[in-house]
């Protein structure tokens, strides 16, 4: 099956779970979902299964979290204690804050009922009676569409009290963020949900023990929860088989942006394509047929790849093996005439701006790196600045409460190492050699 969107984006997958419904303005309504997509049949099936059965199917599916960390979802659900004095919660991370990522937006605006059904099943599996969708504050339209879909689900009895006469209750609430990258980090998100500053918490305790409002909590990405109905309906083995690589099941929604001819959201079988194939076959090649300079493969925090490294299979383990990461499956493509020093400066400025300020290495180090990169970009760099940048990055990496520090350090270390001659040319020649 090969479905292309009229305005770029589209999907190439043997099993197209999402992309065929994207750009279809009818797909978000419950009637379409019930009649054309087999909507809420998975929920009926799940109610006939035990909680352990559902979690076992999830484990078999080899579904790995789609938010960035790639943690096996079934294993995560298994961490929730069976008995708990405090209410349990299922929280959907719809913050979509990693720069370059925009796939969850399509799920929420075109197929919101997949997410809702996935959350009711997830809530049933872990014994939670309330779910929250924490959506980035800027997505006002998507929040509205989600609320409309939730109202439809309440009206038809798929949410609320005694769902489908089973005695199971589940409420779902959309909670808007307010502009903070850090709230994509799950414990910062939980603080934000509780009405606090979005500062990450010290772990342990992990959210599965003490999360939202101190109750056992699972936090999953939008896409992760939206594939749950497929897994319940067709089985973990089937989903696992969609992956063309070990330990990675299903299809992947990938966000491609930057210097490609056809940017957009694409759906591919996990591990079925290399980065080269994605850029040149799916996305029509580099904009203006220019030469490729760099690819940031997993959102702006992923260590950069050079044009010589793009024959890697685009999935979690192969990218980790070459020292980068798939993250939220956001590919940012850079052509030869864009200054990589300027690009790194822009990335680092972002992390300096978004550092919550709790940990000194991140708060001070990110700003310091931003300043050093800026002076290099503008021709005022010194010979020792590259060693200084690597030293600052090394003193942030792994030394902070959450992953934001690593997210800022990774790009600096990889850009400076892989594009050293560009940085040196700025320092020695006072300007960019490529622009």
């Amino acid at each position: 099956m090969n479905i292309m969107h009229p305005d770029g984006g589209g999907g190439v997958a043997t099993e197209n779970l999402f992309a065929q419904h994207f750009k279809n303005d009818e797909a978000r309504f419950i009637d379409y979902y019930l009649n054309k997509m087999g909507g809420y049949t998975a929920l009926k099936k799940a109610f006939g299964m035990s909680q352990d059965d559902i979690i076992n199917e999830m484990k078999k599916s080899n579904l790995r979290g789609r938010g960035g960390a790639g943690f096996p979802t079934g294993v995560k659900w298994g961490f929730i204690p069976k008995q708990s004095a405090k209410p349990k919660y299922l929280v959907c991370n719809a913050d979509e804050s990693e720069p370059g990522t925009f796939k969850d937006r399509d799920i929420m605006r075109y197929t919101p009922h997949l997410l809702i059904e996935g959350m009711v099943i997830g809530g049933f599996a872990i014994g939670a009676h309330h779910g929250y969708i924490y959506i980035r504050g800027e997505y006002t339209r998507e929040a509205k569409l989600l609320n409309e879909a939730i109202d439809e689900a309440y009206a038809k009895g798929y949410l609320g009290k005694n769902i489908l006469g089973t005695g199971f209750d589940f409420d779902l609430t959309v909670h808007r963020g307010a502009g903070a990258y850090i709230c994509g980090e799950e414990t910062a998100l939980l603080n934000s949900l509780e009405g606090k500053r979005g500062e990450p918490r010290v772990k342990p305790p992990f959210p599965a023990q003490s999360g939202a409002f101190a109750g056992p909590t699972i936090v999953n990405n939008v896409e992760t929860l939206a594939v749950v109905p497929f897994i319940v309906n067709r089985g973990g083995d089937w989903f696992s088989g969609l992956g063309k690589i070990e330990r990675s099941g299903g299809t992947r929604l990938i966000s491609v942006s930057g210097h490609v001819k056809k940017p957009g959201v694409y759906e591919i079988n996990a591990g079925s394509m290399t980065i080269r194939e994605i850029i040149y076959d799916l996305c029509g090649g580099v904009l203006g047929d220019k030469k490729l300079k760099a690819v940031i493969p997993g959102g702006s925090s992923a260590p950069v790849l050079t044009a010589d490294e793009i024959d890697v299979v685009y999935d979690i383990d192969p990218l980790m093996k070459i020292g980068s990461m798939m993250g939220s499956a956001a590919l940012m493509v850079v052509s030869e005439d864009y200054c990589v020093v300027k690009l790194l400066g822009r990335i680092t400025k972002f992390y300096a701006h978004e550092s919550c300020g709790q940990c000194t290495p991140c708060r001070e180090g990110c700003k310091w790196m931003e300043d050093v990169i800026e002076r290099i970009e503008h021709g005022h760099g010194r010979e020792q600045d590259l060693a200084l940048l690597l030293d600052i990055a090394d003193n942030i990496n792994g030394k902070t409460l959450c992953a934001l520090g690593d997210a800022a350090a990774g790009p600096v270390m990889s850009f400076v190492k892989k594009f050293k001659s560009d940085f040196e040319a700025h320092i020695r020649g006072g300007k960019c050699p490529n622009v």
Binding site: G8, G9, P87, E96, S97, E98, P99, G100, T101, F102, R105, H130, R136, G137, E138, Y139, T140, R141, D171, T173, H175, R176, G177, A178, G179, A180, Y181, S192, L193, E194, G195, K196, R197, G198, F213, S255, V256, S257, G258, H259, P263, G264, V265, I296, S300, A330, M332, V333, V334, Y338, L343, R346, I347, F350, H353, E354, C356
Partner: protein, 159 residues
């Protein structure tokens, strides 16, 4: 103290309250709803939210000041936020910002003298596949060009 926020605000909050185990969790929804009414969050508005939630006004301010979407200073009638993060930068966001600054006669962070427009650079909006993108008040505008930005501004100026 006379109330600034409308009955609609209080109705909305009372409807949301049973959805959370405590009232402090209404903080972000309350700040959003208040800002929708008053465009920016003055000390008086923050105090009114604190009184509703039952916490100290400083607690409301410490939260509001953490998030970029809450305006703690007056803004113009229309708030333009142009994304300049990586994907938008790669697709020409700098030119869009430069054009807005020139046309409105203000720098990023500024408000026009007639208080009609406030301009800000914004971090990633999650619209990277349709870059460059911006928010105009609560709406997204994507695949921006100098011409499309001009059309938008022309419409607003004509109003």
């Amino acid at each position: 103290m006379a109330k600034i926020l409308s009955q609609k605000f209080y109705d909305e909050m009372n409807k949301l309250e049973p959805r959370y185990p405590n009232k402090v969790a209404l903080m972000l929804p309350a700040l959003h709803a208040a800002q929708d009414e008053t465009h920016w969050l003055s000390s008086e508005v923050l105090e009114e939210i604190a009184a509703y939630i039952g916490c100290h006004p400083a607690q409301v301010r410490e939260v509001a000041s953490f998030y970029t979407m809450y305006n703690l200073k007056p803004v113009g009638k229309h708030h333009i936020k142009v994304c300049t993060n990586v994907s938008c930068a790669l697709r020409g966001a700098e030119e869009i910002v430069g054009h807005c600054e020139k046309r409105l006669g203000i720098k990023c962070g500024g408000t026009t003298l007639d208080r009609k427009f406030t301009l800000h650079e914004e971090e990633c909006l999650g619209a990277c596949g349709t870059a460059p993108a911006m928010m105009l008040d609560n709406d997204y505008h994507e695949n921006l060009t100098i011409e499309s930005v001009d059309r938008l501004l022309n419409e607003l100026e004509a109003k």
